[in-house]
Symmetry: C2
Subunit: 197 residues, 2 copies
DNA sequence: GTCTATATGATGATAGAC
DNA sequence: GTCTATCATCATATAGAC
């Protein structure tokens, strides 16, 4: 931060290494299946040191989710996304969301895995979901103002469909190239099947 | 099964009670957080009896998912669903899927929780997902034959959107009255926002 | 701040009586 | 088939040297 010749990457602190290791292992094997010993090994620290920085194993979990709250940056991204046509706008928004989901895929995986066991995590998970539904809904409303006469209720339903599809595709299905999936989803959301029946 | 005066409900076998208890606890707290002692207590059997019926705790998990494979009945339901207009058809199909998901919500929760840890479960989970995408896709194709000129690729994308939304809404969001959500989703899938831009 | 050794408790699984 | 008692192991967390 001050007069170091080398950047902070090699001087990574033990606390950070512990959090990183815990995050990876919690996402891969789950909270209960991950031992503090395994975390210490992956972090390259002795197992006792974990309990110098954190009072308990569970504190590791809550700290990860508190300090590394994902998707904050998306709020500001959405502000800037006032592109011309709706299709391009939705494609861009979806790509940003997919990018954020994948960059924080470990955090998302932890939320999806553990929200049934720990009430605080469930609260955080559902609050986050709600927050983003609101964010996407208001964006879609601005985007389609005057161009679409659907009631507000459907704007929200569209936001749900948008978000839930991205989550399942990005975190569970996890294809190497999600571009095609995003494009298909956006086209369905915009035009549906335009049934003539 | 033969000359009993009472039906088989009160004569429920210990093995079944153990499986039921394990299923509920695995779904609620996860595999690793559930102890065999807790399963035995919930089932009303001594803890040793579990290992008379099952060689290990993990065998309990795989047995549950093997013997209670959900959604089999949906295949036959889909066969019968050749209703007139597409909207009614999709609403009915969605309602059936939601019903099945909720009736087997514990199994679905277990799949969602554990598929990252156990390869057999991951395989089963993704196979099941693929199977239902195919099922829904072929149904949608029959349904919209001649009424819609969308390429086959989009039929499959629609099936994905359909299924993934139902899963997230039914298993994660879990609202008391999902009817409204189903209706909104179907309308979006059929008509989208019909942008005039 | 870092590391070693260990206490304490719980867990999956077994042995064997009934 | 059912139940009790118990083993062996391993996990979280602590004590305390450096």
């Amino acid at each position: 931060m001050t007069t170091d010749t080398t950047p902070d990457l090699p001087l990574e602190e033990a606390r950070t290494r512990i959090l990183n290791a815990a995050q990876t292992l919690f996402a891969a094997h789950g909270f209960n299946a991950t031992t503090t010993k395994a975390i210490a090994e992956a972090a390259g620290v002795p197992s006792g040191l974990i309990f110098y920085y954190f009072p308990s194993k569970k504190a590791l979990l809550t700290t990860i989710l508190r300090e590394r709250n994902m998707l904050i940056e998306l709020s500001t991204v959405v502000e800037m996304l006032l592109v011309s046509d709706p299709r391009t706008a939705l494609l861009t928004l979806a790509a940003h969301y997919m990018e954020a989901l994948r960059q924080h895929r470990e955090l998302t995986a932890i939320l999806l895995r553990e929200f049934r066991s720990h009430r605080e995590i469930a609260d955080q998970f559902h609050a986050l979901r709600e927050e983003h539904i609101v964010l996407i809904t208001s964006y879609v409303q601005k985007l389609l103002k005057g161009k679409c006469n659907a009631p507000e209720q459907y704007m929200q339903a569209m936001a749900r469909t948008f978000l839930y599809n991205l989550i399942v595709i990005g975190i569970i299905e996890d294809p190497p190239e999600p571009h095609r999936f995003i494009e298909e989803m956006v086209d369905i959301l915009l035009g549906g099947f335009a049934i003539n029946a």
